[in-house]
């Protein structure tokens, strides 16, 4: 599903170069639920931005769902984000002046789907997260957990192949965090690949496998995930130590 080889990302300013990622190689199979862990500044966000085609990288190669996405134009990347990837953010990132329905609608519109199909998808997705009664509510009128569920519905409606989650429970209390994690697990069991960036061990434990990032490098702490059939968790964590 997701295959990165020797990815390197350097931020340049006038005077200094910062290596955000050097030589990261990651392999995620279809259907996996992977947690990427690391302290702040370890390159998690950069990793996620590159994985989600939100940012470019300086060297290495990246195949997504069998397609080489290293050299794509901006609008090709937009199309892939729209059709294959779903994002869940720490702060939900709902658009404040759109109601639930319209928020879920945003990616579908960019896909130029006909109105009837969009409606069906939106209603089905919102129903799955249990917010059908709040279809015309604005984000401000919802609790944090509900907002994150709307964000999840926005992902579901797009039926992505890959979900990228950035600290999805970071802004939520324990009870709501559990709800959201249950939801993600359910989605994963239905066959969607999930890559989640987090620094909380509880969340990471829900994943089938953990990858650790330290100072822009992959650190292989466990050769194998604690459980699960080998076929789902092929560890190809190429830790490059220069």
């Amino acid at each position: 599903m997701l295959s990165m080889r020797n990815i390197r990302k350097i931020y340049r300013t006038d005077l200094i170069e910062t290596h955000a990622l050097h030589d990261v190689s990651v392999e995620v199979r279809a259907g996996e639920f992977v947690a990427v862990m690391g302290r702040s500044g370890s390159g998690k966000t950069t990793f996620l931005n590159i994985a989600g085609l939100l940012d470019t990288f300086d060297s290495g190669s990246y195949h997504l769902d069998g397609q080489d996405v290293s050299r794509l134009t901006d609008s090709e990347m937009s199309r892939i984000r729209n059709e294959k990837i779903g994002f869940i953010f720490q702060s939900f990132n709902l658009i404040p002046d759109l109601d639930v329905f319209d928020n879920v609608d945003v990616p579908l519109r960019y896909r130029r789907l006909p109105a009837k199909e969009r409606r069906e998808r939106i209603e089905k997705a919102v129903e799955m997260v249990g917010l059908l009664s709040r279809l015309r509510h604005l984000p401000a009128q919802l609790s944090g957990g509900q907002q994150q569920r709307v964000a999840i519905a926005r992902v579901l409606a797009g039926e992505p192949r890959l979900i990228l989650a950035d600290e999805p429970t970071g802004n939520l209390d324990t009870l709501m965090s559990r709800e959201v994690m249950d939801q993600l697990e359910k989605i994963n069991e239905a066959g969607t690949t999930i890559v989640m960036v987090t620094h909380t061990p509880e969340c990471a434990s829900r994943a089938s496998r953990q990858i650790h990032l330290l100072d822009g490098e992959i650190v292989d702490l466990a050769a194998l995930p604690p459980e699960g059939p080998a076929s789902r968790t092929v560890a190809s964590l190429a830790a490059s130590l220069r």
Binding site: G52, D55, N82, N93, I95, V106, Y110, G158
Partner: protein, 445 residues
Amino acid sequence: MILHNVRIAWKSLKRNRSLSVLIVAGIALGIAVSTTFATVRHSFAKDPIPGKSRGGLYYVRMDSWDPARPYPGPDATLPPTQLTYRDMAEIMKSDIPKRQSGTFKTALYVFPEDKTTQPFRENIRLVYSDFFPMFDVPFRYGSGWDKKGDAGPEQVVVLSEAMNDKLFGGGNSVGKTVRISDRDFRVVGVLAHWEPSVKVFDLTQFQIDTPENIYMPFNLLKPMQLRTFGNSDGWGSSGGQTGFDGFLQSETCWIQMWVELPDAASLAKYKDFLAAYVMEQKKHGRFQRPLNNRVSTIREWMKDQRVVPPETTAMLIVSLLFLAVCAVNLVGLLLGKFLARAGEVGVRRALGASRADIFLQHVVECELIGVVGGAIGLLLSFAALAALNAWLKTTVVNPRAAFFHLDVPMVLLSVGLSLAAGLAAGLYPAWRTCRLSPAVHLSLQ
């Protein structure tokens, strides 16, 4: 997609109300000011009789002025604005023009039939019968008089709609009699509403007056011993002439002369005729200045008479610059507004919006601002023009009802300016916004 973008834009405007009010008010002000002064200038400058100004109708001038110095005025190369009576009478004998008419304005007392109504002094225009078809004057009842009426001269009049209402309470008054000065006149025609934008047939003074309400045959001049109430410019010796006949024989210029020449050939022929007339007169000691005949189109004549006040041009220039400042101001405000929304743009980009999608969304928002601001601006300029019309009423003796008014070209100009201002101001901020890197603005809230 456009409609959807309009909806998004509308929501965006509603989100930050005070900023939106500032933004829209700025553009509305710019549009109001520029539309108002464009309309003010246009009201003077536009074609007074649409269709006629392009060709066919010409104003005739000849330089019969003092050999010692040119006719005084802002442009010394121009001949006197009007003709002497004797020259008009002579060149009227030409059969080259399809139609022709000398004309001037006098004032006489009108005695209404109803004896309880006070007699009143009224400005009256003397014209030849050709005047009415020449200027496309519209009739409600009857028509102008014929060549016999000119030759007689018959005691006939054509009344304006307003004068017909005043004297007869409206209706078909053709055949009725009206007493003017000490004579009875038969009404042969009543005009329909007629108000060329400027008083095109007499630009020598009060160019935005209402046209005269009564028209009578030119040749009544002599039997009634009529004097002009317009300008009369004289020079040199009286030649011993005195009184009314002396005035007609003098070198005083006081008659306006119009000819209709349907094609280039007749125009050339008429110019030759005028030149020959002047050369002949030179032999008799008149026209001692260089040959300087003018057979001018309405546009040329308007330009020579400076119908468009220079102040209106100055104000138009200033108001367009004003609009430019409003647009520059708008660029800054939009840039701030859009960039403050970088986070939302990031989300949209993450959800698959292409740069083009984002660009379009923001350009639509700018155009919406342009349209809303333009609509408010148009209303404001409507009010401003109404105020200017009210002002005109207190300063001009006989102003028309709504001299300054937003006609179709001006409304289109206003809409065009609004869209252009919205686009000009919005392109750069929209471009900047769509170039934002999606990643940067997602993680850093």
